[in-house]
């Protein structure tokens, strides 16, 4: 375990939207190393439902031909930061499904840096944020493709839903590519719940909070599709949604 020494400032791009008062309380952030050995398959869940500020930094290496399925649910902390650095070796596969749900003046952030170090690795990131009140939800996601890492297939799907117009969503997908034969796709959208859909549900008798909850539940569940414990993650998210709405 190594610890970074000095507290970052707002000039530090990876911390630009952080809650610095809260960050000072949890600094320094321990680096958690995860290695998935060649040919192995692993899955991990990071679930942060407590109210206290939390900041984590995962440093992951997925070796040749190995697979990692990582899911993150941050729903509760006043400040929650999950940073994930991933290095992918030849033919490695990384899937990240992350949801962050916030209300009040909570600040949640997910910061990823996925590096395709060698050929034919694949990565997929699905990030869903549902933000109410005056909360802030941030996703900073960088995909780097190293020289020679041909056959890379990297995808990011980033969506944030503002439950209230007073909430803030920041999203910054970044691609840095030094190889020739690369497939990299990213989609990013910040929006509100579909008004037509809400009216359709209400016209059948659902109260406005019920209609919102159903639609948000489906939205957030996209981050957990196919997870080993999909149901438990979705239930935990639903519980938080019910208290937010």
């Amino acid at each position: 375990m190594t610890l970074a020494a000095t507290l970052p400032t707002r000039k530090d791009e990876a911390f630009r939207y952080a809650d610095f008062d809260a960050l000072a309380g949890v600094w320094p952030i321990a680096r958690e190393e995860i290695v998935v050995a060649a040919g192995q398959e692993d899955s991990r869940q990071i679930v942060e439902l407590g109210e206290a500020a939390v900041a984590r930094h995962l440093a992951i290496r997925v070796e040749k031909g190995a697979k990692l399925d990582l899911r993150i649910l941050t729903a509760g902390p006043a400040y929650g930061r999950i940073a994930v650095d991933v290095e992918l070796a030849e033919g490695a596969d990384f899937l990240l499904g992350a949801a962050q749900l916030a209300t009040g003046s909570e600040t949640l952030e997910i910061v990823t840096e996925v590096t395709h170090c060698e050929q034919n690795a694949t990565s997929m990131q699905v990030i869903r944020s549902a933000l109410a009140g005056h909360s802030t939800g941030t996703y900073l996601g960088r995909i780097a493709v190293a020289r020679g890492a041909d056959g890379t297939d990297a995808e990011q799907s980033v969506r944030a839903m503002l439950i209230d117009r007073t909430a803030t969503a920041n999203a910054r997908p970044e691609l840095e590519i030094y190889a020739d034969d690369v497939k990299a796709a990213h989609g990013c959208a910040v929006g509100e719940l579909d008004a037509q859909g809400l009216f359709y549900l209400a016209s059948r008798g659902l109260t406005p909070p019920q209609a919102k909850r159903l639609m948000l539940q489906a939205f957030v569940a996209e981050a957990f599709i196919g997870a080993p414990n999909e149901e438990a993650l979705s239930e935990a998210a639903l519980a938080r949604l019910e208290s937010i709405l």
């Binding site: 579909d194 008004a195 037509q196 859909g197 009216f199 359709y200 549900l201 209400a202 016209s203 059948r204 008798g205 659902l206 109260t207 406005p208 019920q210 209609a211 159903l214 639609m215 539940q217 489906a218 939205f219 569940a221 996209e222």
Partner: protein, 247 residues
């Protein structure tokens, strides 16, 4: 049951309904026909309470209650059903989950006991059978990937499950092939033709009225009802056109 008196409504500040009056009693089926842009869909949405459809004058009572005092979900609980011309797709939310919650929300609003999972599925199966819609379709996300005809049949299944007093059906016949038209028509009769229920059919064409025989036919033009009559009026419209009849 429904009393519309001199209703005026705007959409994006544009007047669409300009003094529409209509009374519907229990046991009656009314058809509203009219050319494009007459205000037919606006009438349906205004009665359903869709945001953006602003009532600027007149009144509507439903069972003696001021309809505009009620939120859309309260109108549903009071027994109003709006069949959509373009049913909305809602990814990730299954029909079964949504309809069970909707049915139970309405029952709660009326002070009734909720349906258990088993009771609900039995009811859903029965109504899906009536509309010849595969029950598996109802396990899929709401309207996602449904054909036009399947969406309309699914609307009728929802109506069957929710069992409203008054159904306002906005162009239920559009997008239906001949067989689906008959199935939907028979479904409407089976679900809604009862002494204590009523239907307001909004349509362009006479064809649905071959299956769902209206007691009254009204012609809507330029935001008002310009002519009312019996079922023969629909045939006259089909033969002579709106312009000739409404003039």
């Amino acid at each position: 049951m429904l009393k519309i008196d001199n209703l005026q409504a705007t959409v994006a500040d544009k007047p669409i309904l300009k003094g529409l009056s209509l009374e519907i009693n229990p046991g009656e089926i009314h058809a509203i026909m009219g050319p494009n842009g007459a205000g037919k869909s606006t009438l349906g949405y205004t009665l359903g309470g869709r945001p953006g459809y602003e009532v600027t004058g007149g009144s509507v009572t439903f069972d003696g209650q001021d309809l505009f005092e009620l939120e859309p979900h309260e109108r549903a609980a009071a027994g109003l059903f709006l069949g959509f011309q373009y049913p909305v797709e809602i990814p990730g939310v299954s029909f079964v989950q949504f309809l069970r919650e909707a049915a139970n929300a309405q029952r709660k609003g009326r002070g009734e006991e909720p349906l258990s999972g088993g009771e609900f599925l039995k009811l859903a199966k029965e109504k899906a059978g009536l509309l010849r819609l595969d029950m598996d379709m109802l396990k899929r996300p709401v309207n996602v990937g449904f054909s036009g005809g399947e969406k309309k049949r699914a609307e009728m299944v929802q109506m069957g499950i929710l069992d409203p007093k008054l159904a306002i059906l906005d162009e239920t016949d559009s997008g239906l092939d001949i067989d689906a038209l008959r199935v939907c028509g028979e479904g409407i009769n089976a679900i809604m033709r009862a002494p204590d229920k009523a239907v307001l059919l909004i349509t362009h064409y006479q064809r649905l009225l071959d299956y769902v025989k209206p007691d009254f036919v009204h012609v809507l033009a330029n935001g008002r009802i310009v002519k009312s009559g019996g079922p023969e009026l629909a045939h006259q419209l089909e033969a002579e056109g709106y312009e000739a009849v409404a003039a």
